[in-house]
Symmetry: C2
Subunit: 173 residues, 2 copies
């Protein structure tokens, strides 16, 4: 049992994909403090390698960073959707590629101090192009296919993409 | 210039270390949408190796994950503080170790879709114990010193700690 107890929780703001809460916590020293918590659906991402040995990446504007970024395909898990289904769906929607066999490589908290949600990172080889992109009307996503060399030499600004890069470096070396 | 324009921003909730905003965005297709943005100070973290070739980690309860987690030392950058000063301060406060030479290895967005803040990851070798921990009265942090083998074999649940692990695997191999 945790020595930290959530004794009160108040919804402070409900956004479109995230909710912000204030929690009152009873600490091990019996003091009470107020903290902020962000709740969202968990996310999935995939390091996907094509039959031609290219790594699939997507380039799009990101609202938090407020700039265009290059990342591995990723997205939120829908309610009642498994991580496996979600990551296959996101890959297909964003790139048109199908991943038949996927392997979970990491399950991590990206902001454990404030966010309750996890990111589940998958790996798949020999993914196949089976359709066009299938984006929402307000989504603008460019597909990139990088060689291993290009992927390893790129200084990505996205945490999960760098984690995938370092993981792949380790297994191909 | 970005084809995405922030045309309105409203503060929705101001927490202790984070602020939640709603932004109205003008998209490239001229439509307007509302999105949520989380603003915090940038964070720093450090992969610190002692003279005895041990990796320094800290174990503490994390409120977002709502559990005890093992991570590399990390913390928020104070206002008007450099990343370099912040990471040396955090390492010293959390572990009592001093890092003389530090090297920036990654600067990443951990949640580029929603959060404006970055995480800057540093690396330092031969860090020296020079004092006791210096924690806030409500902080309870246990120091761990892992061998390279233990560090490489541990399945950390924290994104930045796994990124540091994969980075180190690549440079020692």
């Amino acid at each position: 049992m945790s020595k930290y107890k959530i004794i009160e929780e108040k919804l402070k703001y409900s956004g479109k994909i995230s909710k912000f809460y204030s929690q009152k916590i009873l600490l091990p020293n019996k003091k009470k403090i107020d903290i902020d918590i962000l709740k969202q659906q968990d996310a999935v991402a995939i390091l996907a390698i094509t039959e031609e040995k290219k790594i699939l990446l997507v380039k799009q504007h990101r609202f938090g960073a407020n700039k265009e970024m290059v990342e591995i395909p990723a997205g939120y898990v829908d309610e009642n959707e498994s991580y496996q289904s979600a990551v296959k769906r996101e890959l297909l929607e964003e790139t048109g590629y199908e991943a038949k066999k996927i392997k979970k490589i990491f399950a991590v908290y990206t902001s454990p101090g404030i966010a309750t949600s996890k990111l589940i990172l998958f790996f798949s080889e020999n993914v196949k192009k089976i359709s066009k992109q299938n984006l929402d009307e307000d989504e603008f996503v460019e597909i990139l296919e990088l060689s291993f060399k290009e992927f390893f030499e790129n200084n990505f600004e996205d945490s999960k993409t760098l984690l995938a890069r370092e993981f792949l470096k380790n297994i191909v070396k």
